[in-house]
């Protein structure tokens, strides 16, 4: 990750990117899951489809019911694979069309008020939503290049580590529970993002408080 790459995105963000971002939000939100007609195609659970049933009474495709241990776990994991493959396939398309770059462009100005870190961290933040290592690596380079202070790095890391690689994890491991959720799948995802921000701000307050303490009693160890 060379430094220039971090400090500004080389991709120009066009209306296609914003359209892709909007599509991703709609696609995963489940708004159109019960829509009639062609609008349904814009929905994850609709495109995910359903497995066939074996025998008239059979409900759960090849997993059946009453399974236990590693064997049942294996079949359960198998039933998740199509959703994971579809989800990460769609995310890759959205990313390819610049959807995430659009998200980063929208978000950079908000970073200062929301989390107290400079807009420059937008790209690293988006990277951390997809891969723990990419986000952490870029954060290290941001600090070394002087773009953020040590305290800002701590706050940014607190944002990252809570539910790290959010998109990748949520749509791979999380897929296991989509079928049981009582709300559209986007709702828990949004709650996660909100609390990532809350967590970052808790650390921000803590650092400010610790900062005062050392300021008015510098002799303290």
């Amino acid at each position: 990750m060379n430094k220039e790459h971090l400090l500004q995105t080389d991709e120009k963000v066009t209306w296609v990117s914003y359209a892709a971002l909007l599509f991703a939000i709609v696609f995963f939100s489940g708004i159109f899951s019960t829509a009639k007609g062609w609008l349904q195609v814009l929905d994850f659970t609709v495109l995910q489809g359903s497995f066939g049933t074996i025998g008239e009474g059979g409900k759960e495709v090849f997993r059946g019911s009453g399974g236990t241990g590693a064997r049942d776990g294996f079949l359960f994991a198998l039933t998740l694979m199509p959703s994971v493959i579809l989800a990460l396939g769609v995310i890759s398309v959205v990313e390819g069309l610049g959807g995430l770059a659009a998200a980063q462009k929208l978000m950079s100005p908000l970073l200062k008020p929301l989390i107290g870190i400079p807009g420059i961290c937008g790209l690293a933040l988006i990277a951390s939503l997809q891969s723990t290592d990419a986000g952490a690596g870029m954060t290290k380079t941001l600090y070394e290049s002087g773009a953020i202070t040590d305290d800002e790095r701590t706050v940014f890391a607190t944002f990252q580590i809570s539910a790290d690689a959010t998109i990748t994890n949520y749509f791979s491991s999380g897929a296991a529970l989509f079928a049981f959720l009582g709300t559209p799948i986007i709702v828990p995802f949004v709650v996660i993002l909100v609390f990532k921000i809350v967590g970052a701000n808790l650390m921000r307050l803590y650092l400010k408080k610790v900062g005062q303490k050392t300021k008015n009693s510098p002799a303290a160890a």
Binding site: S131, T132, D133, A165, T168
Partner: protein
Amino acid sequence: MAQEQQPRTVIDAFVIGARRGLNVALNNIAPNVVMAFVIIQFLQLTGLLGLIGKVFGPVMRIFGLPGEAVTVLVSGWLSLGGGVGAAASLYSNGTLDARHVTILLPGLMLIGAQLQYMGRILITAGMESRQILPTMLVSLIVGLVAMFLFQFIV
């Protein structure tokens, strides 16, 4: 997700092991088993299986096994997965019963994949070349003797 090899916690240790298990199961067991099932189907369709049964009947009876069991040992000699696949296939079409499979198992494991392991173990380890053939023969005999004795325990 980065592919980390050094486990940091017990959970990592299990996940890395399970991941290796998935690769082993997909990459070398599945192909062997499918091959074995195809060989058995080929022998069955051509009627050769029945012929083998008759020809090797008396020999295999010494081990308390039907003649067809020899196909398990032959395909096992080529590859362990093949031997196990053949046994499972013959079991599911009724040629072998549970007791037969149990008798076959130790023999299969001892004479299994001799060609493959001759290269991977004997030559790699550096055994003197004139010892290799005797080792293979002795392993074969010990495998058959083990199977012979095992029939009385089962």
